[in-house]
Amino acid sequence: MLYVAAIFLPLLGSIVAGLFGRFIGDRGAQVVTCLLLGISAVCGAVIFKQVAIDHNTVTIPLMTWIQSGTMDVGWALKFDTLTAVMVVVVTWVSFMVHVYSVGYMSHDPSVPRFMSYLSLFTFAMLMLVTADNLVQLFFGWEGVGVASYLLIGFWYEKPSASAAAIKAFIVNRVGDFGFALGIFGIYFLFDSVTFDAIFAAAPGKVGATVSFFGIEWDALTICCLLLFVGAMGKSAQLGLHTWLPDAMEGPTPVSALIHAATMVTAGVFMVARMSPLFEFSDTALMVVTLVGAATAFFAATVGCVQNDIKRIIAYSTCSQLGYMFFAIGVSAYQAAIFHLMTHAFFKALLFLGAGSVIHAMSDEQDIRRMGGIWKHVKVTWALMWIGSLALAGIPFFAGYYSKDTILEAAFAAHSNVGLLAYALGVGAAFLTAFYSWRLLILTFHGKPRADEHVMAHVHESPAVMILPLMVLAAGALFSGWLGYDMFVGHDQQQFWGASILNIDAHKTMENLHHIPGWVAILPTVVAVSGIVLAYILYAVAPSIPAMLARSFNGVYLFLLNKWYFDELYDYLFVKPAFKLGRGFWQGGDGALIDGVGPDGVAAATREIARKVGRLQSGFLYHYAFAMLIGVAAFVTWYMFNAR
């Protein structure tokens, strides 16, 4: 009961706020959704205790959904440790964001709609993580996609917001297409979509092949790669990442909840959930590692030169998701989920902190027009520091534990791709620290660059916004330290139970505790040097960055324009698609189908009608002539055709 309540209370809240928001008013919608989500969060904590700590894995069947031939899909809630971790993260971060939104969105004209969307998202995300089969997971997957679309485009009167929403939706469609194909493939291969059945049968399918285009492919690899395409879309990995920075058009709480803490990690969760499949495909794991490492590094480079406070954090998210993926790629699923959890706290903290800053700066988002406001917003400033320290992986903050574990795991994989991932990860760690402090210094320190009018209004956010930040800050401070033993330490096997599979060939989780000392220390060293460099460039000698940008103009522009991914896609896909569409519309539909079809037929009909009508001359002898001609024609016909 409690388990079901945790999942469905947000849906109830969404329905109440969405359909009856008009009657219960802004305040009513806020209270209802926050209250229900609060209950849900408490339930989530209980679930975590019972399932993850006490190891009571349960599956609650709700009802049958689709039954057709061998296809048997049900609605069921599956709670194992992996799910429990996700449930507790999702419910608590979502609860914090709900509360924060009460303050942040207080001036918005459509509060009930916003709260309803947030709760709807939470429900869909919970459905996603509690699914016990792929189809239900896909339901939640698409549900969060819809909620994300609605929330990015929440201010739909803004063209840029609408465009960003559409972009997110369409880019995700590419990934979802792969995901759907993956599900089809798995059903084809296993004759089932239920996780237990698939996982039980997976070892037996090693080496199974499918024939496609006349070539034999490894069936498991194909399925895993297709699923991973879905994960890439949802988790904004290199290639399908372009929607994430644009998604920052949505309100900041949305960025924190959906595009940092929860939804974008759905891909990571899904791949971890499918670990019993991925473990049997080294090729797929290698691809995951490469894509993850490349994303981690790429996004970090771009993050270094962005000027929009939210975009910097967005690229940072992208980069951290890359870390999680290459952790998965080296079979350190536990480390990935660990980082997922710590990241959820400190990244939500950073985003909400950024929201607080934006709130204080009268909706200014460009860090070049900030600076020197730390005296006015001391609490936010302190919280942002905590978040950044956690993100950069400074010892004893949450990120230190999880990120270092990932890097150690990559090294401990003892493979070429693992080492490459380690190298890229360390580079990205340096860049992460650099852009984090660039952001902090430019935003809070130095001389104010905003005009006096704005500066006069700089104020600390209300308690309803600050309190959630503090809770999240507590998470950013302690979650790594508290969770280390359970998630990746010596308790990990007991903790995860059967929810994650590591086959014997992949001993990364054991090996990562036996690595050279320099490997473990290096990330911290580069992180500190990143901070120092940022301090030198932006606090001590602020003229150097501009000089660097001038002298390496090409590199600078390359980074500033995000490696020209948008331009490339625009050129490769968007423009041709428009051209094709216009061609089909004007040429195909307009000229050909309309012209020959409806319009042409109609015109021809009128023309024929006119001509037939004209036969009716009114002259008697014409009529008689027609009759005689008719008879003559028929008789002639028979003369030539009789037998």
Partner: protein
Amino acid sequence: MSETFDLIPVLPELFLVLAAMALLMAGVFRKDEGFGSTTSLAIMAMVAAAVLVWAVGGDERQTTFGGMFVMDSFAVFAKLMVLVGSALTAAMSVSFLEREKLGRFEYPILILFATVGMMMMISANDFIALYLGLELQSLSLYVLAAYNRDSVRATEAGLKYFVLGSLASGMLLYGVSLVYGFSGSTSFEVLPRIFGGDHPAAPHLGFIAGLVFIIAGLAFKISAVPFHMWTPDVYEGAPTPVTSFFAVAPKIAALVLFTRVMVGPFGDLVDQWRQVITFIAILSMFVGAFAAIVQTNIKRLMAYSSIGHVGFVLVGLAAGTADGVQGVLVYLAIYLFMNVGTFAVILCMRSKGRMVEGIDDLAGLSRTHPLMALTMAALMFSMAGIPPLAGFWGKFYVFKAAVDAGLFTLAIIGVLTSVVSAFYYLRIIKIMYFDEAIEPFERVSGRAMGMVMALSTAVVLLFTFLPGPLLTSAKAAASVLFPQ
């Protein structure tokens, strides 16, 4: 040589003829015009004749006059249709003709004579009897067409009809003499024996030519293309009640006669006549669909509409099977009610004290006369063949028969032209329901009008739910033409 004829089978015709003559005498000697009372009596006579038809006709096939006159269930079915059609159109005429100062007692009497002629045609079992009935009917119709003798248009229409009708009669007679010359008989019972049986004779080309001429003569009466040219002019020129009469009873009688002639005496030559019928059917459907689109006068439109319907009926005939004939009869029965109802609406189209005939005059009818508009809409939908209305089923049975007989091309053309014709039917509905009324019609509904409209709407709407009686009787009627 004295032979006594069994007069029982011909009793309804005899009764009707005597009634008509009595009414004629009464009319001549009366002081007043006596239009209304004569019409009522004529309708009663037709009803009585219908009862007689019902009583006389049984399952037994009866012949008289030396085999020239036949009374079978096919004839019963057809005669009932003709009598109902004549009676209904006569009833609808009264108020209109009185308003237009055309109420003269000759009108119902002419209708009675024409009806007798039609019944003779339906029961004809010999080309001589056929010609007799046809001419009796035609002569009455020529007069009726020019009934409004003070109108140039009506007299022109009457004259055109007469001249072309004579031409058609001439063709028919010529065809009959050719057939007689090459086969030695005019009897519908002798002819099949020549070409059927165990040793069928191959028809001579001259015989085929005779067949073609007969078809041409009959095609004129049913206004099938290319013998249709008189129809629009006559429909438009004649007074509207006459037009409504033309559109219903004579059409049905001629089509029934056509069917009997093709399936009876020439039944074994189906491969020969099917080619002509198919061609005529295609042309009729085509002209009926396309020429109607540009019409602005509703009577002209109805002329082309009836040409199109004749094309559809001929599709069923072209099949040449019992199913096809059943389809023909069902179609005709439905056509009867659709046309009567539509003309009832047209007869009510009056504004500023005079009859209007433009399609655009129907604009806004849904607001001024909602019930009338609803009736018209149901009838138009039915004519367009929109399910579940009766018109759809009429088309369905003939097309199905054609498909079963392997005439796919014909059926496909039929469906396509049906789509085209839907345009002008639906346009009427659009004008009634979506266009603004320019000049609302006067309220001219009589009781007869309302009843006719209600009856036809009911038939069109309810046929789907109660098709049984019509289908079974049509099936029984069709089966007598295919003895085995």
